[in-house]
């Protein structure tokens, strides 16, 4: 036999790979695209954060000009919220939800692809503003009239509003798709109250997106009309109202923070039971608490506006409603702890991040109670205390939960295990660096330091807290790089994972890793929330107790 006759096994040309990934409508690939995009933006926004921290390391530093500093915090905040936080959660949801509920894909696969690409292009559109000479510099909540032509002369504000309008379309399509998928495509036997907890939170996150995002889009259109068509919605000088923007924005902005945390709750509620080897304690109460959070949190937006001089009645209403949110949130906390209690805690990397979440998110919740106490907020609002608080919920909450989820499902997505050793380093650097960065910010805020200042005087007692914060940022930075390194290198070097490396119980672990394009050869029939538990313990199945 001559050599030439041997069939040649060739890697597909790169154009084929490119085509496969850009034209895909497979929910798993789209999910991974979302996640990759978010990780890239996470690194970009992280660099922006470090530039800010370097500027603030000593008083009256001249490392960044005020113009650049202001662009940095605007782009950092905008990116983290719209192009890291939301898409990474939507991406994980995209990958996991159909597998978890036993579907072959999302309800509308093409719409799903559209959603991703539109989100990506929205992000690029916002970043294009750099090419016009300057990025937006009015903060992520863009208080009018700073966005009006008078104060934002260049095109940056237009790029910003259009970018968010475009990516907002992507977010809304994703939410519609989740609702349709979860309501309509569950495996036989999976009643609505038997869906795995992560899918439950994605359902309610989607409801919240549908309630909150359209008002933002409308408000952004009003900004564009003001700037391009000479409308005067937000211009007080010509009879508009800058105050209106605050209401419209926060009517979106507060639900947004729950959009960013609910899927995190969902991931924690998957990881803790599996790594405690116990069923989730009080599923029904957890599920009800999720709904309560969605509904209550639609009515608390003006707690971001306590200092605008509302009436006492409004102040008190918004303070009371905000405090109410802490009750269902507390219920969740207690149920997770009860799940761990009496279990066999397996401290693998997903569980490490979940425990990090529990210990840190608690603190974010407690500082939230302080901010909700309206008069206390008159002192704390817009100070560095707030910067400490929201990073505590966004990193200590959302990001730790996201890392827990990513470490948990990475073997399913790739068929390989992540390096546990690197994951541990990543965890400890992040945990320590995070506390050193954002703990001192609370103190600086209580010592009178406002947020969004590019410099400060030496004689105010703020130096030491700022120095610590910068050092903490430098400790955190390698942690993110280790994560990126780990997810790339483990693609080749990681131990093969097998179908179910964590001995977990939901349907995604019943298929191969990575799953085939059609997900399941045969759609399984389920009887409980933990189908794989039932399979393994036929003598004592879950559905007896649910």
């Amino acid at each position: 036999m001559s050599v030439a006759e041997q069939p040649r096994v060739e890697a597909p040309p790169w154009t084929a790979t490119l085509n496969e990934w850009t034209a895909t409508v497979d929910h798993k690939k789209i999910g991974l695209l979302y996640i990759c995009m978010s990780v890239v933006f996470l690194v970009v926004a992280g660099v922006e954060a470090l530039l800010m921290r370097w500027q603030l390391i000593v008083p009256r530093n001249t490392f960044l000009s005020p113009q650049i500093f202001n662009q940095m915090f605007t782009m950092h905040g905008t990116t983290m919220v719209f192009f890291v936080g939301m898409p990474i959660l939507i991406g994980i949801g995209n990958f996991v939800v159909p597998l978890q509920i036993g579907a072959r894909d999302m309800a509308f696969p093409r719409l799903n692809a559209l959603g991703f690409w539109v989100t990506l292009f929205g992000g690029l559109l916002v970043y294009f503003s750099f090419l016009t000479g300057s990025a937006p510099d009015f903060g992520w909540f863009a208080y009018a009239p700073l966005t009006e032509r008078t104060f934002a002369r260049g095109p940056a504000a237009d790029f910003w509003s259009l970018g968010l309008i475009v990516s907002g379309i992507g977010t809304v399509t994703a939410a519609v798709n989740f609702v349709a998928t979860i309501l309509g495509m569950r495996a036989p036997g999976m009643r609505l109250w038997k869906i795995p907890f992560f899918s439950w939170t994605i359902l309610w996150t989607s409801v919240q997106i549908l309630l909150a995002l359209p008002p933002l889009t409308a408000a952004l259109f009003m900004v564009v009309f003001d700037r391009q068509l000479g409308a005067h919605f937000f211009d007080a000088q010509t009879g508009g109202s800058s105050f209106l923007w605050q209401h419209l924005f926060w009517f979106f902005g507060h639900p947004e923070v729950y959009i960013l945390i609910l899927p995190g709750f969902g991931m924690i509620a998957e990881v803790i039971p599996v790594f405690s080897r116990k069923v989730l304690f009080g599923y029904e109460f957890m599920a009800a608490a999720t709904m309560a959070i969605v509904f209550i949190s639609m009515g608390v937006w003006a707690h971001h506006m306590f200092c605008v001089g509302m009436s006492r009645t409004l102040d008190l209403y918004f303070a009371g409603a905000s405090l109410l949110v802490s009750i269902p949130t507390g219920i969740k906390m207690f149920n997770w702890l009860a799940t761990m209690y009496g279990g066999k805690l397996w401290l693998a990397s997903p569980m490490l991040f979940a425990c990090g979440f529990l210990s840190l998110f608690l603190i974010g919740g407690l500082t939230g109670i302080m901010l909700a106490a309206a008069p206390f907020d008159f002192q704390l609002s817009d100070s560095y205390f707030v910067v400490g608080h929201f990073h505590w919920v966004l990193i200590g909450g959302t990001l730790f939960a996201t890392f827990a989820g990513l470490h948990y499902w990475y073997p399913k997505a790739t068929g390989r295990m992540l390096s546990e050793r690197i994951a541990r380093w990543q965890f400890f650097l992040l945990f320590v660096g995070f506390i050193v960065t954002f703990g001192p910010m609370h103190i600086a805020g209580m010592l009178g330091m406002p947020r969004r200042i590019y410099t400060y005087d030496a004689n105010r007692g703020w130096d030491i807290w700022n120095q610590l914060a910068t050092v903490g940022g430098l400790i955190q930075a390698p942690s993110y790089l280790l994560f990126v390194y780990n997810i790339i290198v483990s693609l080749w070097k990681g131990r093969p994972a097998g179908d179910n490396p964590w001995d977990a119980w939901t349907l995604e672990w019943a298929t191969t890793s990575p799953p085939p394009p059609y997900n399941f050869e045969e759609i399984p029939t389920v009887h409980s929330r933990r189908p794989l538990w039932d399979l393994r313990h036929p003598d004592d199945p879950d559905w007896q107790y649910e």
Binding site: V279, K344, L366, S381, D503
Partner: protein, 348 residues
């Protein structure tokens, strides 16, 4: 390094802006509330972290499927009800305390404390500008004042024990352009200045001295250098300050100063600045009538030193000192600059 950096490092007399050192009723009421809230949240923190750490230590066990699974507990209704009720109770107590504090801080003090009728209140309108403060003194007791000044607010010290010697300060807050926020932590919480809206706040303190703070709502490029200084003066000193401040600018006999004045009035300065009693009527920048009565320049960015060095640097090129601020450099000749500085330095 930048010159202003070196200057700033020389002047390190510590300033206290802590919300835990209140000297005026609104800040004191908030301080009390904050102590209670910190105690409650601190308690919850200890309990929950304690349970978490206990569980981690007690139930940690390396994974081995052959050892079997722990007992499965699906939930418990009584327990769920208990840990719904407990936080609800805490929230209820907190809400009651919040209502009380809200009333103390945001209530109309003249309605809540009838004895204030005998006091002599100072009423000032504060107007936020990109990146400086305008103060219009409206009235002091029954006396109408109606003059304006900038960047440093002088108020009388109050004797809170004797109703007739009380000197509460009522501020009306407005904005000329974008949102700002008035925050002097030791006097009161912050209140925003919003275009198209009128807000109010008040404070009253017996402690003399200078209280600092700064604009707390992001307002554009130089938000960081929009500092607040409130000087609480002993009553006699305050009245002296009032008398000086409401008079027109001093006319000097010194020939050099008169010449400087002519240079100043011939420049475009007059389009943006006002010097009462002259032809300078501008309203874009701070009033300069009694510039030398202030300890700082340009919204607290520079010390107003007696030799006029910083003033000179400022007029020469404001953009190197406060980049992006709304006063351009004019490229004045050295002799014109001397004249202007000499004139402005005479405005006590």
């Amino acid at each position: 390094m930048h010159r202003s950096l070196l200057l700033a490092l020389n002047d390190v007399s510590p300033q206290n802006l802590s919300i835990f050192d209140p000297v005026s009723p609104p800040a004191e009421a908030i301080h009390q509330l904050s102590m209670l809230v910190l105690a409650i949240t601190g308690g919850i923190f200890l309990v929950v972290e304690g349970i978490l750490i206990y569980s981690l230590v007690r139930f940690r066990s390396p994974h081995n499927p052959r050892n079997g699974e722990p007992p499965q507990v699906y939930g418990s209704q009584p327990i769920e009800i208990a840990w719904t009720a407990a936080p609800a109770l805490i929230v209820f107590v907190l809400a009651l305390v919040i209502v009380r504090t809200e009333w103390e801080v945001r209530g109309d003090p003249e309605k809540l404390q009838p004895e204030l009728k005998e006091s002599k209140p100072l009423r000032v309108t504060a107007i936020g500008h990109q990146w400086w403060w305008e103060y219009v003194y409206e009235s002091f007791g029954d006396e109408k004042l109606d003059f304006l000044t900038a960047n440093e607010l002088h108020v009388p010290a109050s004797n809170r024990q004797v109703p007739s010697e009380r000197r509460p300060v009522y501020l009306t807050l407005k904005s000329a352009d974008v949102n700002h926020s008035f925050w002097v932590p030791r006097l009161a919480g912050k209140t925003d200045l919003i275009p198209g809206r009128t807000n109010t706040m008040w404070f009253e303190t017996g402690q003399t001295g200078v209280f600092v703070g700064q604009c707390a709502e992001y307002c554009g490029t130089q938000h960081a250098n929009m500092l607040l200084r409130v000087s609480v003066d002993p009553p006699e000193q305050f009245e002296k300050w009032l008398d000086n401040e409401r008079a027109n600018a001093l006319e000097s006999d010194d020939a050099a100063i008169r010449k400087g004045k002519q240079v100043f009035l011939a420049q475009s300065c007059v389009n943006c600045h006002r010097v009462a009693g002259t032809s300078a009527h501008g309203k874009v920048g701070p009033d300069l009538t009694h510039l030398m009565g202030r300890a700082t320049l340009a919204g607290g960015t520079l010390d107003n030193d007696r030799k006029g060095e910083n003033l000179r640097r400022w007029i020469e090129d404001p953009q190197t000192i406060k980049p992006g601020c709304l006063m351009p450099a004019f490229g004045l000749s050295a002799s014109d600059l001397d004249g202007v500085v000499r004139y402005l330095s005479s405005l006590e």
